[in-house]
Symmetry: C2
């Protein structure tokens, strides 16, 4: 964790009190009842995909790992808790030695996940497992949301068959919901497929490519647009992208950019690009492309920005907009269409007399009934195609050479038999007995994992609008256990 702690975004931060008060009151209640050492198992999962997407890209584990590794109560924390006059000295004294000593299993960041799947499973003394709920939910909810939104935007840009793979740049700092939202948001955007950020702090923290040119104020601060372009090209002859919409894109901006492009060419440089930040991007980009090409600046790229999201980008692409790079701000960094992912963290098992007993949370709303017990999450592949995910009890063993009958956990008549399948166990050990045992991958590796994962799913599941629902089934044992517990509850 040495390296992580050096990241500017983490350095010297202390987050132990980043929790909801009810975690502390429950911890105190357990302590008063002498039950604080009891082992419990909690699952972290979400119930509904955001933005109408068919899946979520899991992210935020690195932040959770940093947080768990550094968890401890300082004297100042304890003084504050004492000031609330809610807790006994014995409890506060107990917190002095608090460390996370539990086990945490998680899907690697960049994993494609689906509703109701355990993304993280935590097991340990109830005091510890309770405290961490709020912070870990915030990290995973935020980063998974932005990674997923970024993926949608990147895919919209990639549908541009005329310019395959037009890259997307994250540039939302000024509209982000404060500092961490911008920095961890830029990280998540990169995981989702963005190629760069404008946020210098995020770039430094995560070694991301960082890009940026000039704002309208730069243009305004010169006596003419042409002079402002020349001034910028002087400072960055090999990295000049000129903002052409301060006065009039086609009558002033592009003609002036062409003058500077030719001047740069005469000195052995090349005008890297122009940026259009307002107006009708389809019309303006097509006309600008013609003008640049006619002037011989065929390699000068067109960058577009201006309130873009996946829907606008897809429409512009469909209309043949000549846009090489997309700069996306507000809608990406806030996931404006759906600014929260609803991951929850639920008790699924509890130690009684040395044995883990499954627990279920019942609700009037059937979709809110939890899957009980300590579990595993398996992804089943047939011929390199992900056919279903299977949630099983943690000690179940499957032989992929035997036939396996899968069934829908609600409409159980829907059944399917598979054979010769491959199993990927998605929950991997991250902390064992409080020790970080997982080698946190770098962000490029995580981004690559997303790309590779998505290849295994059918395009129907990956569709942006009304995607096909991927199969997430329960094993027969887990399904039986759930029914048994539900019947017990009905009788009680």
């Amino acid at each position: 964790m040495q390296t992580l702690s050096q990241l500017p975004v983490y350095r010297d931060r202390h987050l132990t009190l980043l929790t909801d008060l009810y975690q502390l009151t429950m911890m105190y209640g357990q302590f008063c009842a002498g039950r604080h050492e009891e082992r419990v198992v909690f699952d972290l999962f979400y119930r509904q995909n955001p933005c109408g997407n068919g899946y979520v890209i899991a992210a935020g584990l690195e932040q959770a790992a940093w947080y768990l590794s550094h968890l401890h109560f300082t004297d100042e924390d304890l003084a504050y808790l004492r000031s609330l006059q809610m807790f006994s000295e014995a409890f506060l004294d107990h917190l002095k030695d608090f460390r996370f000593s539990g086990d945490l299993y998680a899907v690697p960041e960049g994993t494609v996940v689906f509703p109701n799947e355990p993304i993280i499973r935590v097991e340990g003394p109830v005091l510890e497992v309770q405290l961490i709920e709020s912070a870990i939910l915030s990290f995973v909810n935020h980063q998974s949301l932005i990674a997923t939104k970024a993926r949608r935007i990147v895919e919209a840009a990639e549908t541009n068959f005329r310019r395959p793979g037009s890259p997307v740049i994250e540039m939302g700092l000024r509209r982000a919901q404060n500092i961490d939202a911008s920095v961890f948001g830029a990280r998540a955007a990169f995981i989702g497929g963005c190629v760069a950020t404008s946020n210098v702090m995020a770039a430094e923290s995560y070694n991301l490519p960082v890009v940026g040119t000039q704002a309208h104020s730069w243009i305004q601060s010169f006596s003419s647009e042409l002079e402002s372009f020349r001034g910028y090209a002087d400072a960055f002859p090999d990295d000049t992208v000129l903002l052409v919409d301060t006065y009039d894109v086609l009558r002033s901006g592009v003609p002036n950019a062409i003058i500077v492009g030719k001047e740069l060419a005469a000195k052995g440089h090349q005008l890297k690009g122009i940026r259009i930040d307002s107006g009708d991007l389809a019309y303006l980009s097509k006309r600008a492309r013609q003008m640049l090409d006619a002037a011989g600046l065929t390699e000068t790229a067109i960058v577009a920005s201006s309130d873009l999201d996946e829907y606008t980008i897809r429409d512009l692409v469909t209309q043949g907009a000549e846009i090489d790079t997309w700069g996306v701000g507000t809608h990406l960094i806030t996931s404006s269409e759906c600014p929260a992912l609803g991951c929850v963290y639920k008790l699924v098992a509890e130690e009684v007399d040395g044995r883990l007993e499954p627990r279920i949370k019942v609700s009037e709303n059937p979709s809110k009934v939890t899957n009980p017990g300590k579990k595993k999450l398996l992804r089943l592949y047939v011929e390199d195609h992900a056919v279903a995910d299977l949630i099983t009890l943690w000690d179940e063993v499957y032989d992929p050479n035997e036939e396996l009958e899968l069934f829908d956990p609600i409409h159980t008549y829907k059944r399917k038999v598979i054979s010769n399948y491959k199993i990927e166990e998605l929950l991997i050990p991250v902390f064992i007995a409080g020790k970080l045992v997982y080698d946190l991958p770098d962000i490029a590796t995580i981004q690559k994992r997303v790309e590779e994962q998505l290849k295994y799913f059918s395009s129907e599941v990956l569709r942006h609008l009304k995607p096909h629902e991927y199969h997430v089934d329960l094993s027969q044992q887990l399904w039986d256990l759930k029914q048994t517990l539900l019947r017990q509850w009905q009788k009680s």
Copy 2:
């Protein structure tokens, strides 16, 4: 600033690189051109109210003040910038002594503001005024947005004439867009009128009331709901709010709460409340109130939570829901309906030969044409009623004993003469020559300012849906200047 720096949320943070790269490239461009000492004036303002509201509550100034007071480039910052291979050593060397030396005027936090009004005005060397844009926008955009959203929610709860002033508690940590969004969001929610937060770190940072009871997992971890309620009441006999919806609100939760309430009463305590977190809150709260009252627990409050926002709260209130306290999470902490406020930061004047010259940003979109020049923002009152805001040039002087003719800056035939009015100058000095000269008020004072300010506005302006547009006018001098600059631009 001593105190501010001690706040847990600020402690030891270093944010100088929290900026968009283009600020640094423009700074470098200015430096290369030898223009980096030129004085400029920038205005921070927004163009459109969020969530269909009629105004915005300005917030985030404290964070901006902390940021500006601590701005400097460390060796590590410079090493990172050097690694980008974009900047000369002379420039990096120049940054070593970088401090904010400018003037900053701002409306106090908690001020009610309107579209196109300068909320912050910054004047200083272009190098400094440029760097700070991205961070300050993020702080002000985020906190103003959440304060405004909170105000809407608090007002919805306050329309409950049967229970006037039912308080709203902020409890969105787990759905916040990462750490700062939760902490500064809780601060902004309090400014908007929330009475407490569940977020311990926010409460410690800003000395906010902090509340919380138990989660479903607490209930599940006991052999019965009744035992779980007793366990909690044992730990907090005078501060017990029981979560009654784990199994069945009316058949199990409320009856068990009544048992514990009577047991507490027998010991001289009082059951503080019950919380309903799912189901139909109108029906359940009314039935629960009847049951509690019938059992003599008339002072036991009903707390409701469950995906609430201002619209749901208002509907529930209209239906006579018996809810005493509202816990609001996702929709408040993300302002889910509209998760970004669009403040911008625009050049309005620039020093040429020792004199400030006004600058205008023209756009094809008339609403995006800026108001040029260094300006003041005046609020005009007639008989304790705010009648209009007037944006003037900074050196204009008005005599409130003389008649003043106001006119709509677009539809100029709409005119109105006022007399015997009072003037409030809204932009006050915060930094002068880089020195913090403003005594930052505490959060309770800011919250109170919101309440007091709103009294001066008509209910039509304060309405949540389709509010009346408050008059924001330009002075004749400013209007004339704008027209002159627009004509000059058309001719050029």
